[in-house]
Amino acid sequence: MQLFKQTSIDFLRMRKAAYTFSGVLILAGLISLIAHGGPRYGIDFRGGTSIVLEFKEQVSVGQVRASLAKIGFGTAEIKASTSLRGAGAGSDILIRVEQGELSGEQVAEKIKEQLAKDLPDKSYEVLSIESVGPKIGAELRRAATLAIFISLLLILIYISWRFEFRFAVGAVVALFHDVLITLGIFSLLNMEISLVVVAAFLTLVGYSLNDTIVVFDRIRENLKLMRRENIYTIVNTSINQSLSRTVITALTTLMVLVVLFFIGGRVIHGFAFALLIGITIGTYSSIFVASPIVVAWQGWLERRKLHREVARA
């Protein structure tokens, strides 16, 4: 079976449309990020206490909120989701309290006490309690950002060494593009960035690169084989030649991610979602963003050279 025979699509011609598309996505994400005052960090990064209770029967968020308001947790974030045990079996309630004077276990104790008073007939089970100090949160945030930047720098160096600097620029721009768009979509959907999601972002960095490099490798190879052709044709041919690989790999990975997203359970939901978006965007960017940038950079260099020559003359 073959999805693509020898294609000869003029991908580079679509680059303007692609730039616009990417631009709109990035802009929307940035606006959302600014409007929300930055990414919505999970408890890992923000500090605070989060408690997940599994009620045996249906309990509404309102009931829980009314009960917790009495002990000053009225502003707490309270979310309900269908129980892990399946629909109709009861409900899971997630309660998140911002960092305060109390330790995680004290918060949990107070909540349990109050619920026992107000909802004595509803039995529940504590699924998890997490509490992170504000300091560690700030540190994690710093470490995660630092990790992303350092890996970007190292990748820039590696690709410059293995290929040429212009390829490195294309790869890193594509990377930023992917991470920014994924982050933007997270913000648009008001999803939360947890430690696990950061892991997903870093996987995305690796994957997106992987994809881009396969195309670059082809370009590098074809630069030698097709000396007479201009860069535009070479890049286009290369993208076409590696197209079936790009699509198939994305497909197999997406298959797994879709499964993870739908049945992997709550804990890896965010992880699967980040990768689902990221890998779609990453596949798109390796075709429509990274390679066109290599061409554009080349074009810019040539123009600059030309200008200089004109100026000299």
């Binding site: 309690i129 992170v132 190292l154 690709i159 430690l195 996987t203 690796g206 198939i248 797994v256």
Partner: protein
Amino acid sequence: MRRKNLFKLVLLVVLLGWALYQLYPTYRVSNLEKKQKAYLGQLSRLVGVDERQLLSALTVGELEATVSAASAPLPAEARQQARELSGKLITLRSKIDKLEPKALRQGLDLVGGTYLVYEADLRQLARTLARDRDERFSEILDAADKRARAENRDFFDVMVEEFKARNIPLNRYYGRRGQSDDVIINDLRAEAKDGIARTLEVLRNRIDQFGVSEPVIAPQGDKRIVIELAGVQDIERAKRIINTTALLEFKLVREPDITLSVLQDIDKTVKRMRSKGGVEELAAAAQKDTAKTLPEGKKAQEREIDLSQLFGKTEGADTAKAEAAAESTIVVDQQTFEEYPFFSLLRYVEGTDQISVPEQNVAAIKRILQMPEVQKVIPRDAEFLWGAQPYVSRGQRYHQLYFVKKEPELVGAYLKTADVAFGGGESSVRAGQAEVHFELNSEGAKIFRRVTGANVGRFLAIVLDGKVYSAPRIKERIPGGSGRIEGSFTREEARDLAVVLRAGALPAPVEVIEERTVGPSLGQDSIEKGKLSAIIGAALVVVFMIVYYRMSGVIANVALALNIFFLFAALAGLRATLTLPGVAGIVLTVGMAVDANVLIFERIREELRTGKTIRAAIDAGYSRAFRTILDSNVTTLITAVVLYQFGSGPVRGFATTLSIGLIINMYTAIVVTRMIFDYITERYALTKLSI
């Protein structure tokens, strides 16, 4: 070509063997755990205690007590059954505990448990290390601490700056006159590092007492300690135990005659209680005042009896022959048992203060000592304490039991240092033997001088966290405030004891900065879902590969299967912790693992299209794809390494899985599939490649 392939084949076989060896304990553990779950279910139905509660009782070694308490109102038969079951569970648990260090470690998100991060207060540490502390000093430290927190910087760096800003040399408070700031701050850093190591040691000691199997206690960075307690749900209890201040105390062992009379009183009490328990033939004996004569060291005729004889109705010694019995039997001198039910459990050498308890009897003794009636006969100013380590004599393990004065003569706050030393020449027996030397500060020395002077000939127990480490006899008044602890230590044991002594109290206060508990049902649920999605995801990819690449797809799938197998083996071998994101990483690997083969196969197809022969196309496909695979994997590896460097906890696990996965993937996708292709093309003259 042939020889090269043979070498590859041998390598593959060796790798497979290694992988099987690595994974076998994990396989065994998971089987045993299934059995354990079944037993727990049975026991839970029998005694009506929640399964989870039973499990946590089992992990902290309180199952027997829990079960016997819960089964008390049940008929004898059910009680017997419950006892047998708990015996089986304990045996099972010990088997699992033995295997667990070799099995794949599962993260807390998978098994449930408690995760705590402690941070040492460096300011306090810097304060305790300083001398001539004054108002200004405290002020500087507070400022440094505040700034270090606000700016997220290294405390010592900021501290030096603060001193400099005020134009005060560090040697005003630390080190020697004339020492430069750099030297002093380096010393301080070293002290801080040592302090963390000591804190780690103290915490480990305390957690060991907690009885959790395989706790993770690891330093993180330069001032944090991460503690993971799998299976412990009670975070408060965990924190309470961890936070108890370790206390080093010196307590006088009570005089032999007092000890003896207390032992006799306990005997009487136990005997009276046994008779009340309904053992008729002993009822009469209980009326009589038990003789004060104690059995001299006559040849004891020993037999094993069931615990129920001591605590419940006597049902004959043969009732519990099952596995369970082995766990709950005690060793007694048969003749003395009836008369002296408590005393007969001990080995007491008259005239010394040494009481030894055979290991099998420890649980029984503990329970007797905890009985409220027994507590009443123990004098208020004294207590029983256990030795820290058992000793072995003629193949039998004994635990020491000490009867000491409650009020310590001296506490560890007066301790200055403790080091390992070796016995000098004054006694040929002790020469070259490892001992622990300790030194007290001047105030401590004064007290020590008085205590030793007043109690020559008596034994002084060195107690840490309620356990007696050694109890040397005071030979003479010790004036200098230094002493030594002798014992049959090995060099390592002596060192450990010195560490423990120094570690007695935490060098710096610690605070919890992060805590997480994961309920076991969330853990269980995560496993189920993770497993299911892994299986479905893998199945989809496998089917796709066969549909798309036919026979070659099958070969790629072989590589994929090997990939996953090796990955698990590597994780088990490295003692990596499998967390949920780790599972997700593995699942993702499945999706991405075929990438290398897709690259190769697409390339082969291209080469075939240009009209190359099958062999040539395969050769070209592999060699051309190899460079691409290498380049793309190296960049991913870079991110993984950076992740590992900067990440913590789950992120680190993920990075580990990712990088190992990549390397294994390169091997299986390139080398193994190539081997299969080579084998097929050499064997058969293919006219068409199924790709």
